[in-house]
């Protein structure tokens, strides 16, 4: 299908972009990488009156590290984040998830901020951001505010960003020593959206887990943090039995959707398998980062 008509603006500065959003609010869609928005436009499922193209905002690109946090500009392309040493060193869970995003051509254009602002619950980055308690920096004409990941994902394709705000940066904490990570997904084919995905991170000191992060993709209309399962893990020694218990706990309260690719029961089963496998892999990797 062909895209429907829309007004088009390509602001040269973030301030201009914010001004446009303030003026047009919900009537405008922000065009970042386009790998999610343009298909919606082409299928005529989205019909914004205006498209604000922020690909000219070079100031929103880039990875920097300060104070134990990695700040990634919203317009940083997926492939650039994949190639970033800072990301690989300090945010290994993000580095592990990036290759799962679609295919290489998607990652040529897709952006870190775009995926997180779009907030498809089956996408990889929302689960990673939620697992790591990332922070979302949005800007309006009133200035910047910082929204923690726990408050960012409000509903299906809905975030805490107001219509007059633009996401400028996402901040990830740097992984502590002794952290092992695993990102996995069960997808119908290589590169597809996850039927169920899992972002897992374990920090191990001595023989005991000091920090555990588990977040699912694809099990709800938002990414889901398995906080209870995390608590079960902290303070314990890694073991297959422990991971099995965590899997049971993590999936007990899940209420996944039914769709063409799987029933709720199927997703729960797969989620449990991913927790068992993901925690084992993360524990194995943790050894390497001591």
């Amino acid at each position: 299908m062909k895209l429907p008509y829309f007004e088009y603006e390509a602001p040269a500065t973030v301030a201009e972009a914010v001004e446009l959003l303030t003026k047009h609010q919900d009537e405008a869609s922000v065009l970042a990488g386009g790998q999610s928005l343009i298909p919606l436009l082409a299928l005529r499922l989205a019909r914004p009156a205006m498209v604000i193209d922020i690909n000219g905002l070079d100031e929103l690109s880039g990875v920097s590290v300060t104070d134990g946090r990695v700040a990634i500009g919203a317009m940083t392309r997926d492939y650039a984040a994949e190639e970033s040493d800072a990301v690989a060193d300090a945010v290994p869970l993000l580095a592990a998830a990036l290759p799962f995003i679609g295919h290489e051509a998607i990652r040529s254009r897709g952006t870190i901020g775009g995926s997180l602002a779009h907030a498809d619950p089956a996408a990889e980055l929302p689960a990673v951001a939620l697992a790591l308690d990332a922070e979302f920096v949005v800007r309006s004409q009133s200035g910047d505010r910082v929204i923690p990941a726990g408050e960012w994902f409000e509903g299906y394709l809905t975030t805490a960003r107001s219509a007059d705000e633009i996401l400028v940066e996402v901040r990830f904490p740097a992984a502590a020593r002794g952290t092992g990570v695993c990102f996995q997904e069960v997808a119908r084919r290589h590169g597809d959206f996850a039927i169920v995905g899992l972002a897992a991170s374990l920090t191990v000191a001595g023989s005991s887990i000091t920090d555990a992060r588990l977040a699912f993709a694809g099990v709800s209309d938002v990414p889901v943090r398995a906080a209870d399962a995390e608590q079960l893990l902290v303070g314990q020694a890694p073991s297959a039995d422990l991971f099995a218990a965590a899997a049971t706990r993590a999936t007990a309260d899940l209420d996944p959707p039914a769709d063409l690719h799987g029933s709720p029961d199927y997703r729960r089963k797969v989620a449990a398998a991913l927790v068992r496998r993901g925690l084992q892999a993360a524990a194995d990797n943790a050894d390497e980062r001591q």
Partner: protein, 156 residues
């Protein structure tokens, strides 16, 4: 309708397009570069793959206006004087294709991939090409073409 100038296959090309027109449609209709094909228009099949600023890109997921100021290479740009490039020759030798509709997308994706990963093995090549759909071949002959090109490239 804004005028845009895009560098396509090394030449500055100008057109007057609505903002909603995709790069794929601009190449095919405004520039008569019909080698880039449209297979799904929602970014899954890869038939529309071109190279933008050195990166493989789905041209159906880019607006033409977004390509202004970028360097775009299409299938027509690989063998401008009619002599097949090394990858194309290897694919010819390997009987890589049948109906040919997916071909330009595969050639562009493989071109970009091989230039960045000249020593890729079969599994890496399969993953790199897994975003391009072919309905005719079952992929083996395409993979063989890419492997042959890589091997010849190593032999110099």
């Amino acid at each position: 309708m804004p005028d845009i100038t895009v560098s396509v296959n090394g030449a500055a090309r100008t057109g007057s397009v609505e903002a909603r027109k995709t790069l794929a449609d601009f190449l095919r209709e405004d520039l008569d570069l019909t080698g880039t094909h449209v297979g799904c228009e929602h970014g899954v099949c890869g038939a529309c793959t071109v190279i933008v600023d050195g990166r493989p890109t789905r041209s159906c997921l880019m607006l033409a206006v977004q390509a202004a100021g970028s360097e775009v290479t299409t299938i027509e740009g690989l063998a401008p004087d009619g002599t097949l490039g090394a990858l194309q020759q290897a694919m010819w030798d390997s009987h890589s294709f049948q109906c040919g509709f997916c071909t330009p997308g595969f050639v562009m994706q493989a071109t970009a991939f091989l230039s960045a990963h000249p020593d890729a093995d079969e599994q890496q090549i399969r993953e790199a090409l897994s975003g391009n759909i072919c309905r005719c071949t079952g992929y083996q002959s395409i993979i063989d073409g890419v492997l042959l090109a890589a091997e010849r490239g190593r032999q110099g």
